[in-house]
């Protein structure tokens, strides 16, 4: 199927299509945060704790900083963490899933045991522990969330490898002397990508929620604004300035919603067998 046909098919799911546009909007806002923000997100102002009004569309905080500008700037960390951490999870998960499913036997038993363990462990507690003890920083956050996300990918990729490794085209490739590496990456892996992509969309959404949680608990990057840290600042003043919590939370929810709906759309296109009856 050509890209054009895929796109046509994807567009049949209107919610997914609009979600894609909104996600692109979020990414653009993050990329153009400086020219787009009406104020410097760190600039102190005289209007402290003003509710939303003309000029300060999302109000201001106790230091007079413009909430809209802070919400725009706060999108950068979650998006960066969401995509980079998922990329790390995908790389690890594909590698481990492929080795496990392709070679089977003892390799499979050991790798799947490890996978099961990582799935059982309360991963958020683990992330909290690691970042609290080794220090904060966006690199560490990406690394920790990325490393903790691979089991879901590995399971899906392994299942695909188990199905495909006995197929004729794989046996044929082996028969003409293709190396293991070639068979894994050139022959089987392309078939494992579609279900993995669907998992990836779930992982991006989860990484964004995890980052928000870490930042809320004060374990985000202290030098960067993030939606989670805005919610943490808002917590003390929920009674007087609910808008400080309302808008960052709406932003997170909307972005996560869009990613989920987009993932559903991708699922419809890539796994047509599962499409609604």
């Amino acid at each position: 199927m050509s890209w054009r046909q895929l796109w046509q098919q994807f567009r049949r799911n209107r919610a997914a299509e609009w979600s894609l546009y909104l996600i692109i909007g979020f990414i653009l806002a993050a990329a153009l945060a400086y020219p787009l923000s009406p104020y410097d997100p760190f600039a102190l102002g005289n209007d402290t704790l003003t509710p939303p009004r003309v000029g300060h569309w999302m109000g201001t905080d106790d230091l007079g900083r413009d909430t809209l500008s802070r919400v725009i700037h706060g999108s950068r960390v979650p998006l960066l963490v969401g995509f980079l951490a998922t990329a790390a999870s995908m790389a690890l998960g594909i590698l481990i899933g492929a080795l496990s499913g392709y070679f089977g036997g003892r390799t499979d038993v050991i790798l799947m045991r490890v996978t099961e363990y990582v799935l059982v462990v309360p991963r958020f507690f683990l992330a909290l522990l690691v970042i609290a003890m080794l220090g904060t920083g966006i690199g560490k956050i990406i690394l920790v969330i990325g490393i903790l996300g691979w089991p879901e990918v590995a399971r899906v990729v392994r299942a695909q490898f188990l199905t495909f490794r006995e197929r004729e085209f794989v046996i044929a490739a082996r028969a003409i002397g293709a190396s293991h590496r070639k068979v894994i990456f050139r022959e089987i892996l392309p078939n494992a990508i579609p279900p993995a992509v669907v998992v990836a969309s779930i992982l991006v959404a989860r990484a964004i929620l995890l980052e928000a949680g870490l930042s809320f608990l004060g374990l985000g990057d202290p030098n960067l604004i993030s939606w989670g840290s805005l919610l943490s600042e808002a917590q003390e003043r929920l009674g007087v300035s609910v808008w400080l919590a309302l808008f960052p939370g709406l932003a997170i929810s909307l972005l996560v919603l869009c990613i989920n709906l987009f993932g559903d759309g991708i699922n419809d296109v890539l796994n047509p067998k599962l499409r609604k009856k």
Partner: protein, 324 residues
């Protein structure tokens, strides 16, 4: 296989995981910046001989693997370390806080399972009907909204604005309530954090049950049941639901880990004195032994809950025999 053998075998199976967690904690201690003895002594310029003596007293002069073995031995004998902040053994600190978390989590777990499954069944009865779309929208909401933010909004609305419910804590501090009044007081404190915590799991369970029911709906045995002339209610209750429940039960087991995630954040928002809030306080106070003990403890709890889920599975599906 007798149930007891099965339980023992599963617990034995989980033992390596707990050892992994302990080893992981140990590695983290050594990766963390700073010298523990220096931290204990403080900025005070202590003589080298004193530092060496302290190192010896704490066994820090031993080779690393001996230290690790000692560490594992201590933990397996119930010594999870000493909390710097609370000046108490870590185990006591955690056990003090555990009941509050269970008081929050168990109702959330049971409610989200029962109501989620019910909503899923309702949804699947008439796909794309008004009820189904409404339930789908609700579960999409629960899926996408950060639990702690939802908690903040609930608190701002129902506790601060409307003043219907208390906003912080597990009970009214200072009020000497007894009997039904005390129970009512606790229930009022529970409503908001419980709702914030349960919504995501309600959503997950409802979604899962719906798709599971729809999958089962096309199976031959359902067609047969209908062809026999069974009432639709009986077809659903006795033929579809038991079969559709399996994947949902599995999800509930997996989700317990996520429930702990939610509890850290929701307890922090609502000042709920459980182990989630303890986790947050220990981060702020840099009380690392408590963090590590908490991690080990929650892992053990998740293992136990998963074991219970497996037992439920065994009871639900007689085909599963758990034999190697």
């Amino acid at each position: 296989m007798p149930i007891l053998t099965f339980v023992l075998r599963r617990l034995f199976h989980a033992l390596p995981l707990l050892v992994c967690v302990i080893v992981f904690n140990f590695i983290l201690i050594h990766l963390a910046p700073g010298d523990p003895i220096q931290a204990l002594v403080g900025e005070f310029p202590a003589p080298e001989a004193y530092l060496a003596e302290m190192r010896k007293a704490f066994g820090l002069d031993q080779p690393l693997y001996i230290q690790l073995l000692l560490y594992i031995k201590n933990i397996l004998s119930g010594d999870l370390g000493f909390s710097f902040y609370y000046r108490q053994p870590v185990l006591n600190v955690i056990l003090d806080r555990l009941p509050a978390t269970l008081q929050l989590m168990l109702p959330a777990l049971v409610f989200s399972a029962a109501v989620g499954i019910f909503l899923g069944i309702l949804s699947a009865r008439k796909p794309y009907s008004l009820a189904d779309n409404g339930i789908s929208a609700l579960s999409l909401f629960g899926y996408c909204v950060p639990a702690f933010w939802f908690g903040q909004m609930l608190m701002a609305t129902f506790a601060i604005d409307l003043g219907w419910l208390p906003s912080q804590g597990i009970k009214t501090v200072g009020a000497d309530l007894t009997g039904a009044a005390a129970l009512l007081d606790r229930a009022a404190h529970l409503v908001l954090p419980f709702t914030a915590l349960a919504i995501r799991h309600l959503a997950v369970n409802a979604r899962m049950m719906r798709s599971s029911m729809l999958e089962v709906a096309y199976e031959d045995f359902v067609t047969v049941a209908r062809a026999k002339g069974l009432h639709e209610k009986d077809v659903i209750a006795h033929h579809m639901v038991p079969n559709a429940l399996m994947p949902v039960v599995t999800i509930i087991g997996v989700d317990v880990g996520f429930l702990f995630t939610g509890s850290v954040l929701v307890e922090t928002v609502f000042g709920w004195p459980g182990i989630g809030r303890l986790m947050y306080e220990s981060i702020v106070k840099r009380d690392y032994p408590v963090l590590m003990g908490n991690f080990l403890m929650t892992t053990a709890l998740v293992v136990v809950v998963n074991l219970i889920v497996d037992l439920v599975y065994l009871w639900l599906d007689p085909r599963v025999k758990y034999q190697k």
